[in-house]
Every structure is written in C-alpha cells, then in structure tokens.
Amino acid sequence: MAEPGLPPAQRAPALVFAGFLLLVASSAAVLFSEKLGTGPAAVRDFYLGSEARFTGPRSLAGLLETAVPHLLAIPLAIFAVSHVVAAAGVLGAARLRWLTRLSFALALLGVAAGFGIRWLAPWLAWAKVAAFLGLEALLLAWSALLAAAAWPPPRPASAGRAGRQEPRRQRRRRLHAPLGVDEQRLGPGGGGEREPGRAPLDHHGLR
C-alpha cells in the first residue's frame, strides 16, 4: 500500500485549491449574514418579505438566479475535492463516503430550503441555517483534508522496513505482547501463543 499523500508536484495545486475553498467559504459566510441575516427569523423574512425591512417576497426568478450557479458550483467543488482526497488516501473509505454524501446532501438541502421557505413552510428557515452552517463546516474539513494530503505526516520511527506506516491495531498488539515479542516477525503461534503439541516460542521466536 502506498503512503498517504499526494505526489510532490501535485501538492502546491492542492494547497492553493484548499486556500481558495476557504476564501469561498468565508465570503459565503459574510454574504449570508449581510443578505439573509444571522438567524432563522431573519432568513424567513428574507424569503417571505418583511414590512420592517421594506422588502417583498422573493420572486422565482430571483431565487433561480442564486440557485442555478450554486447547483453547478457546489457539486463540482465537492466532486473535485473528494476525488483528490480519495486519491491521496488520507481518509478511510467509509469516512470519505460518509463525508461526501453529507456534503452533497447539505448542498442540496441548502439550495432547496430557500424554495421551501418561500412556497412550502416558513419553518424550513431552520433547515436553511443548519444546511449552511453544516456545509461551511464541511468546506473547512475538506480544506483541512486537502492540506493533510499536501503535507503528509512525518513517518513514525516505528515504521516498517519497507517504509510503510504500521497499522495502529498491529502496533498495539505488538506493544501488549509478552516481553514485547514482535508478532509480525514470529508469525503464527508467536507472542506466547501455544501451538497444539509444540512448546511455546521464546522472545526470539525460537523453541
């Protein structure tokens, strides 16, 4: 298995992409608070109109104007970043799948919630706020994962001879084995285990 991380030549583009993702996320946060407001009530007023703010309900054309570019841009960004993170191998397959699905789901919820507030149920403003905050958090997470892919952690001193990182479970088993016997070196029956009809191995792996 290859070490996690990107090839050296591909690290700078990944870091730059992570930086620009952070710019997108931070500017989105500013825009959300400036235009929609900072809570569900303000978000509801934005979509349904407010006498206090002298605003009317949002039109379909106005909602589509925001929704259409986001329906392309957000999935494209998630698609690209998830592929890079997957190829770099910095995250387990299950976690990666979970993170990707959650990102796509929150992106869809964020876009759909605006239409929902306007024409279905005003309480969906809570969903809009939750989806936005969740997607912001996930964009930060994706950026961090890209940075981790570009800056692989230093190889631990206990790494194997072939330069491979020792799996955590294997290392724990080795450390807890009697007299610190290296199970990998001993093979089956090592670490104080007894094979039927044979004497146990000593800490050199010999009988």
Binding site: L6, P7, P8, A9, Q10, R11, A12, P13, A14, V16, F17, G19, F20, L21, L23, V24, S27, A28, V30, L31, E34, K35, P69, A73, L76, A77, F79, A80, H83, V84, A87, A88
Partner: protein, 164 residues
C-alpha cells in the same frame, strides 16, 4: 479526475482529448471574463473608480456586492488554478518555469480578488484593478497555453515529472 493526482503514462494518454477540450473552454472562459470586464469599463482607472466608489460619496457599490464578486471569483480562479497547477508538471516546460508560472497566476488571481477592496478602502487606486484585470487572465492564459502545447499535437505529457 484521478489522473490529476496520479498521472501515470496510460492515464495521461487517455486524458489528452478531454484535457484539450477542457483547456479550450477554460481559455474561452478567461477571455470572456476579460471581455466582460473591458466592456464594463474595467480597463480604465477612472471607470473602475466610478464603478466602485460612485459619482458622489455614499453612492459606491454596497459591501455585499464586493463580497459577491470575491465569492464568484474565488470559485472560478480556485478551480482553474487547481486544474492548471495539476497539469503544469506534466508539461515540457522546465520545472522551475512551470512553478514560476503557477505562482504568478496564483498571485495575480489573489490580487485581482482583493483589488476591489483596495479601491474602496483607498478611495482610488483604480489603476491597480486595471492591472490585475489584465495580469490574472494573462497568467492563466499563459499556463493554459503551455499545457495545450504539450497536450496538443506535440510530444506526450511527462508522467514521471508530475509525480515529482
């Protein structure tokens, strides 16, 4: 997409046609962006200042509009820079030249994103925005051109260099 982070010879060979098409569209997008700016007066310092600061105090562009510009620009530049940066190491360009080109494109793009805030903060400096309007697309187009030269009809891409 995977060949961007693990560009083996086979993957690069298979990716040549779609990469060429992508680069052609990227170049068109950058040119259209430049044309859009130019047609809106983006190549004149006075027009730029009028656009952001307004004809009189208090008539300038609202803060949200500046952030909207940054939001859209960060996605566009970020995505293009990632693609271009991942493809540049496979080019026949010298490694240092490729790195310098990528660094210039990143710096020019960041400057272009920040220029509107500079104009409103200083109450002028429209010339800075004019400069970044030209520099960012030029740097991106130069990088796209360098990659096209490799992924076009010329010599095959160099996977061993892309792996660093």
């Amino acid at each position: 997409m995977r060949f961007l982070v693990d560009p083996g010879a086979g993957r690069l060979a298979r990716a040549r046609a779609p990469v060429r098409a992508f680069l052609a569209f990227a170049a068109l997008a950058v040119l259209a962006h430049l044309l859009q700016r130019a047609s809106g007066g983006g190549l004149s310092a006075e027009e730029v200042e009028l656009h952001y600061l307004g004809a009189a105090p208090g008539e300038g562009l609202p803060r949200a509009a500046l952030w909207e510009e940054l939001h859209a620009g960060a996605f566009l530049y970020g995505f293009l820079l990632f693609m271009v940066g991942a493809l540049l190491p496979t080019c026949r360009l010298r490694r240092a030249a490729g790195q310098a080109l990528f660094a210039a494109a990143v710096a020019a793009s960041l400057a272009d994103l920040g220029a509107p805030f500079l104009v409103t903060a200083l109450g002028g400096a429209g010339a800075v925005r004019v400069a970044t309007t030209l520099l960012a697309p030029l740097a991106l187009l130069a990088a796209v051109g360098a990659i096209l030269a490799t992924f076009g009809a010329g010599a095959p891409p160099r996977p061993e260099r892309a792996r660093g």
